[in-house]
């Protein structure tokens, strides 16, 4: 199972890599457009006083992955306790089940997305979050997922999705686009896509973390089992030795008793 998890990890990493070009270009374009628009900013870019928050919690559907889900849940708990009332929008079974038992309101849930999540699988969760924000029933949308830094460093992370944090401009020439229609309109269409792309990236990142955690958990299990086998083998040999010694001494004792008689 360790080998299975390791090979799945590689496959997920390839998928995460494939999503990169879109995310990168999207970020570049967004930075450009956002710096270009004037007038009343889009609601996704406007900070407003926070009365209620929504948290999108990304966890795995399955366990056997060490502390992966527990750590993400702990980070989510800290977020929930530090501040205003929070409702949840869960992606993945583990987080959903935990908070359901705890009684935190869950307004939408997506699970069973498997090893090859597609954008359309997770869109419902994002759409609900977006609608709640636009309706004004929540004033901030945050995201918790486990970031895959390396196979031995899996970091549960909180990030703010809405209001959207426009990425910093990288060095380079400004491109003066011709907009069709107006920049404001283009921006209004870009922002939701940007949020979706971020959540999708987080789901893939989390999946990579899941298989990394599972690989490690399985390796530990194999090591522990090996130790146990060694211990038990030793025990068996000792018991066998003891039995033989006992039988021998009985035979010898019997023979001596006969000779003496």
């Amino acid at each position: 199972m360790q080998a299975v998890a390791a090979s799945k990890l590689r496959r997920v990493q390839v998928r995460a890599e494939a999503a990169r070009p879109y995310a990168d270009r999207m970020a570049e374009v967004l930075t450009e457009v956002a710096s270009r628009t004037t007038g009343s900013p889009h609601p996704f870019l406007t900070e407003r006083p926070i009365k209620k928050r929504l948290l999108i919690l990304v966890t795995a559907d399955r366990g056997l992955a060490g502390g992966l889900n527990v750590n993400a849940i702990r980070v989510a708990l800290t977020y929930i306790r530090q501040g205003e009332e929070t409702v949840l929008d869960t992606i993945g079974r583990k987080g959903r089940d935990y908070f359901r038992r705890l009684g935190v309101p869950i307004i939408a849930e997506v699970s069973g997305t498997g090893d090859r999540p597609e954008l359309k699988d997770i869109l419902p969760a994002v759409t609900v979050a977006r609608d709640e924000y636009l309706k004004g029933s929540v004033d901030q949308v945050a995201l918790v997922h486990t970031h895959f830094a390396s196979i031995s460093r899996l970091v549960p992370t909180v990030s703010i999705l809405i209001p959207v944090q426009v990425p910093e401009r990288k060095e380079g020439i400004r491109v003066d686009y011709l907009y069709e229609p107006e920049p404001e309109e283009v921006l209004a269409r870009l922002l939701p896509r940007y949020v979706e792309a971020q959540v999708y990236a987080a789901v893939l990142d989390n999946l990579a973390s899941f298989y990394a955690a599972q690989t490690i958990a399985m390796r530990n299990a194999t090591d522990n089992a090996g130790e146990l086998i060694d211990d038990l083998t030793m025990l068996r040999n000792k018991v066998r030795q003891a039995t033989i010694t006992k039988e021998l001494s009985e035979i010898v004792g019997g023979a001596e008793a006969l000779a003496a008689g």
Binding site: Y22, A108, T127, D131, L178, Y179, E180, L190, M234
Partner: protein, 139 residues
């Protein structure tokens, strides 16, 4: 060297096309656009339709359900929505996710918890048996 456009068609799930072209036609939201090399920088949303990429007489078509088109003098990037999405479908799916969460809350905890408790019990028993074995070994 002849002028070429570097075309990149990407979706959130991966790259669909990368290569050179002499001419690109895309369904802009305000109307069909034909792009030749040295086009002025342009950014526009896309309407559902097909993107045509022509290179040395050969034409390729890509269906997009929407997205964005970014044009630079020597470069065309299509940030395509995946073909399967449409706003009404998305809304229906969102509604379903909401309903699922609600019905979960109404369900009794019993069966899920029952299963969880059973596994926990089995695990605890296994651990006890193991402890027992180890203790006997030390005697």
């Amino acid at each position: 060297m002849a002028d070429k456009l570097h075309v990149d068609i990407v979706t959130v799930e991966g790259r669909r096309f990368k290569g050179d072209a002499d001419f690109v036609v895309a369904p802009g939201s305000e109307g069909e656009l034909g792009i030749l090399p040295r086009h002025i920088p342009l950014l526009t949303p896309l309407a559902p339709g097909s993107v045509k990429v022509r290179n040395e007489g050969e034409e390729q078509f890509f269906f997009v359900s929407g997205g964005f088109l970014e044009v630079r003098p020597d470069q065309v990037t299509v940030l395509a929505d995946s073909a399967e999405r449409a706003d009404d479908i998305d809304e229906a799916r969102a509604e379903e996710a909401r309903r699922r969460a609600e019905s979960l809350l109404q369900q009794k905890l019993s069966d899920v918890d029952q299963a969880a408790a059973t596994t926990a019990l089995a695990r605890a028993e296994a651990r006890l048996r193991l402890a027992e074995l180890r203790r006997r070994r030390r005697v």
